[in-house]
């Protein structure tokens, strides 16, 4: 954005007491706010119609319905999240099923994943960035069931990458043997999205 004339006395709603070493370059804290960013209308899939699938380059696709999903072992997660639009939230708490659990017993030779959601949203992540405790399918935030506008009933949670990769309303993972751009990646955003290297746009 081009530099504008300074507006005397304007600060915005950022807090000053952020722990600077926890904020990636260019980010600011918005706690306690949790901005809602959406590229389309909020889906409202009823729980009795919801499913989550592992598909693509796998020997045998797997699907869980909501009941089956809730029966999987889940964990509490405490983490910082960073949105490409520059806001960050520190120490957010979630509950979810780790991708390691979901991939248990799945035979594949995939290197990349395309996560797909209700409303035709997709985003791509290398498989190694989803396993070994780095990612979850989260269904609760701050001790409450995840609200629709924040991606409920369940969203992908990949906190070490910019938050557009944590696909809201996620319905499954398509395993692939190559990388392919998802929605925002197709329109100029970075294929990987590491906030610590400020990889917002392709070419960064």
């Amino acid at each position: 954005m081009t530099m504008g004339r300074i507006s005397r006395g304007f600060q915005g709603k950022r807090t000053d007491e952020a722990d600077a070493s926890r904020l990636p370059p260019g980010q600011y804290r918005v706690d306690p706010d949790f901005p809602v960013l959406s590229a389309g209308p909020t889906p409202h899939t009823p729980l009795d119609e919801w499913t989550f699938s592992i598909a693509g380059e796998v020997a045998e696709p797997k699907t869980w319905n909501w009941e089956e999903f809730q029966a999987l072992p889940s964990e509490e997660i405490r983490t910082d999240i960073h949105c490409v639009t520059k806001w960050s939230k520190l120490d957010t708490t979630w509950k979810g099923v780790s991708i390691d659990t979901l991939l248990e017993g799945v035979e594949h030779d995939a290197t990349h994943v395309l996560a797909f959601s209700d409303g035709d949203y997709t985003t791509n992540v290398p498989l190694e960035d989803l396993v070994e405790g780095k990612a979850w399918v989260a269904f609760a935030f701050d001790g409450q069931p995840l609200e629709d506008e924040h991606g409920g009933p369940a969203r992908l949670l990949v906190p070490h990458l910019y938050f557009w990769k944590s696909a809201k309303w996620v319905r499954g993972l398509q395993l692939m043997d190559h990388d392919e751009p998802g929605f925002w990646e197709t329109y100029g955003y970075h294929m990987y999205g590491d906030p610590w290297r400020e990889q917002r746009y392709s070419g960064d």
Binding site: P35, V36, L37, S38, A39, G40, P41, T42, H44, V84, T85, D120, E149, W164, W184, T186, Y187, G188, Y189, R200, Y201, S202, G203
Partner: protein, 90 residues
């Protein structure tokens, strides 16, 4: 169709589009490739609370136009539009 609170309409993206097209385009018509309806841009649904701007057909919600602005450039994509008409200004 169920509404969405953060949704606005094409009027809200008039400024960004004017930077690109150099003239006002919210009265210009756009045709949806999915359901065929034709509407002025100002009437379509706009989602601006995003990493970029998404304009969706107000009848079927398919994506007509995506605008992102990496530094130094503007990227326009027309995923599901058949055409956009720029009429001569009166």
């Amino acid at each position: 169709m169920e509404g969405s609170e953060t949704r606005t309409d094409g009027n809200a993206i008039a400024g960004v589009l004017q930077e690109v097209f150099v003239r006002e385009v919210t009265t210009c018509r756009i045709a949806c490739a999915s359901c065929g309806t034709v509407e002025p841009i100002g009437a379509e649904h706009a989602y601006t609370q995003t990493p970029g701007i998404v304009l969706r057909c107000r009848h079927c919600e398919d994506v007509l136009l995506v605008v992102t602005q990496p530094p130094g450039r503007t990227l326009l994509a027309f995923p599901r539009s058949r055409w956009m008409e720029i009429a001569a200004e009166p």
